[in-house]
C-alpha cells in the first residue's frame, strides 16, 4: 500500500511551497499515488493547475492516482473544475462525485499541448470568465466610436494576459528536450472580493534552462533566472537565427506583470526552487521544494480591468524607428 501524500489545507499560491512539495513528492514516488485530502479546505486556480499537471504527469508514468478523504464541498468543487479525469476517488464523503453548483464563477481546468491552440483558448477562457460576472451584458450594443462594449473591455486585458502567458509557456517549456511539455490553466472569479485569479502551470524545462547561456544572467540560480526573465527585452531567442521560426522580443511577461499591477493585483512566478511575486515576496522555496517547469498565478481586481491601456504597459524606449511609420 503506497504511503499517502497529504495535501496542504490551502492548495493555493499563498501556500506555494507546501503545494509544490506535495506535487513533487507525488511525482517522484514509486507505484500508484495516493493523495490524502482530508485536510484540504480551499483551492485556487494556481493550486488546481498544479494538481492537474501533477496528476497528468503521474498518469504519464503509467501509475494510478487515488484521492481519499475529500469533503463533499471540495470533491464537488474539484469535480466541477474537471481535476479528476482518470483519478480514482477513495473514501470520499457521500455524493462526492456529484457536481456542486457554485453559481457559475468557475472556468474548468484546461490543458494545452500545442501552440496553435493559444488564441482560441485565451479567448474562450477570458470570455467564459467575464461571462460569469452577472452585471455585465454580453449582448449590449457596442460603443459607436470604438466598436467595443463593456464586456469587451473586461475580456481584452484578460485575453491579452492569457495569450501572452500561454504563448510564453508553450514556446519556452518545450526547449531543452522537453518536447512533450504541456500547459495547464484554470481561472476563477470571486464575486464577493471582486477578484479574478488565473493559474498557468507547465511541466517544461523551467526558466533557468532557457536562460542559462544568456549573457544577462548573472548567477546560475532559479531565482536569478526569474528576475532576469522579468526584465524587458530579455529572451533566449531575441535573434532570428537561420533554421528557426521562432523569435521573442522578451516583453510579453513584463507586460503581463503590468496588467496585473495596473489592475490592482500581482503576478507570482515560480520555477525550480524559486518564487517571485511582483508585490514583494521573492526568494527560495522552503524545505527543498522545487517545480521542474514554470507555475504562474495572476490576481487582479475586476473593476480595474476596463482602465487598462496597453500602450501604458510597454517598457520605456528612447529609440525611434529610422524610417517613418505610415499610419492612415
Amino acid at each position: 500500500m503506497p504511503t499517502p501524500v497529504r495535501l496542504p489545507t490551502y492548495l493555493s499560491i499563498r501556500s506555494a511551497a507546501e503545494v509544490v512539495a506535495a506535487c513533487q513528492h507525488l511525482i517522484k514516488s514509486d507505484g500508484d499515488a495516493v493523495v490524502d485530502a482530508v485536510g484540504l479546505r480551499f483551492a485556487d486556480p494556481f493550486g488546481l493547475a498544479m494538481l492537474g499537471a501533477t496528476f497528468h504527469m503521474i498518469r504519464d508514468q503509467g501509475r494510478g492516482v487515488g484521492v481519499r478523504g475529500l469533503s463533499t464541498d471540495m470533491a464537488g468543487y474539484l469535480n466541477r473544475m474537471d481535476v479528476f479525469k482518470e483519478v480514482e476517488l477513495i473514501e470520499c464523503a457521500p455524493h462526492a462525485t456529484g457536481r456542486h453548483d457554485r453559481g457559475g464563477t468557475l472556468v474548468e481546468l484546461t490543458r494545452l499541448d500545442s501552440q496553435g491552440g493559444v488564441d482560441d483558448l485565451a479567448y474562450r477562457l477570458a470570455k467564459a470568465l467575464v461571462g460569469e460576472i452577472s452585471d455585465i451584458n454580453p449582448e449590449e450594443p457596442p460603443d459607436e466610436m470604438t466598436s467595443f462594449t463593456a464586456f469587451d473591455r473586461l475580456v481584452e486585458p484578460l485575453q491579452y494576459a492569457l495569450s501572452e502567458l500561454l504563448e510564453n509557456a508553450m514556446t519556452h517549456a518545450r526547449r531543452q528536450g522537453y518536447r512533450d511539455a504541456s500547459v495547464w490553466v484554470a481561472c476563477q472569479y470571486y464575486p464577493r472580493k471582486g477578484l479574478i485569479r488565473l493559474g498557468v502551470v507547465d511541466n517544461g524545462c523551467g526558466i533557468l534552462a532557457t536562460l542559462r547561456s544568456h549573457p544577462e544572467l548573472r548567477r546560475d540560480t532559479h531565482h536569478e533566472a526569474i528576475l532576469t526573465a522579468l526584465r524587458p527585452r530579455i529572451s533566449c531567442n531575441r535573434d532570428l537565427r537561420l533554421g528557426t521560426d521562432s523569435v521573442n522580443q522578451g516583453v510579453g511577461l513584463t507586460t503581463t506583470c503590468r496588467i496585473a499591477e495596473h489592475a490592482g493585483g500581482r503576478l507570482v512566478i515560480l520555477s525550480g526552487d524559486a518564487i517571485h511575486s511582483t508585490n514583494g515576496e521573492s526568494g527560495t522555496l522552503m524545505a527543498g521544494a522545487a517545480w521542474q517547469g514554470v507555475a504562474i498565478a495572476l490576481e487582479c481586481r475586476r473593476d480595474q480591468l476596463p482602465d487598462i491601456r496597453f500602450r501604458e504597459l510597454l517598457p520605456p524606449y528612447n529609440a525611434q524607428a529610422p524610417v517613418r511609420l505610415r499610419f492612415e
Binding site: Q115, G116, V118, D119, D120, A122, Y123, A126, K127, T146, S147, F148, D152, V155, E156, Q159, Y160, S163, E164, L166, E167, T171, R233, R238, D239, L240, D245, S246, V247, N248, Q249, V251, G252, T255, R309, F310, R311, L314, P315, Y317, A319, Q320, A321, P322, V323, R324, L325, R326, F327, E328
Partner: protein, 102 residues
C-alpha cells in the same frame, strides 16, 4: 499598387494574440512584398498583443531591415495598437542596426 490585409478575420473577439496566428499572415505579406506591392494592414475594431505585432512586423524588420517599413501602411489603428507598432518597430530597428554595424 497595394495589397490589403484585414486583421479582423484573424481576431478572436477583438484581439489578435498569438505568434502562431501572425506567422501565416506574415508569409502572405512577404509574398506580396516580393511582388513589389505596398502592404496595408487594416486594424479596424481590432486590438493586438505585442507578441503578435512583433511576429508580423518585427520579424519583417529583422529579416529585411528597417527600410521595409516604408512599404507598410497601418490603417485604422487604435492608440494602443499604434503605440505597440511604434515600440516594436523602434526596438527591432535598433536591434537590426546594432547587429549590422561594424
Amino acid at each position: 499598387m497595394r495589397s490589403h490585409f484585414s486583421l479582423g478575420q484573424y481576431a478572436r473577439g477583438h484581439l489578435v494574440g498569438a505568434r502562431a496566428t501572425a506567422m501565416p499572415l506574415r508569409e502572405q505579406v512577404e509574398e506580396a512584398l516580393a511582388q513589389g506591392v505596398e502592404v496595408v494592414f487594416d486594424f479596424s475594431a481590432v486590438e493586438a498583443t505585442q507578441s503578435f505585432i512583433d511576429e508580423l512586423v518585427g520579424v519583417l524588420v529583422l529579416r529585411h531591415g528597417p527600410d521595409i517599413l516604408d512599404r507598410l501602411v497601418f490603417k485604422s489603428c487604435s492608440d494602443d495598437v499604434r503605440a505597440i507598432i511604434e515600440f516594436v518597430a523602434a526596438d527591432r530597428c535598433d536591434q537590426y542596426i546594432q547587429s549590422h554595424s561594424h
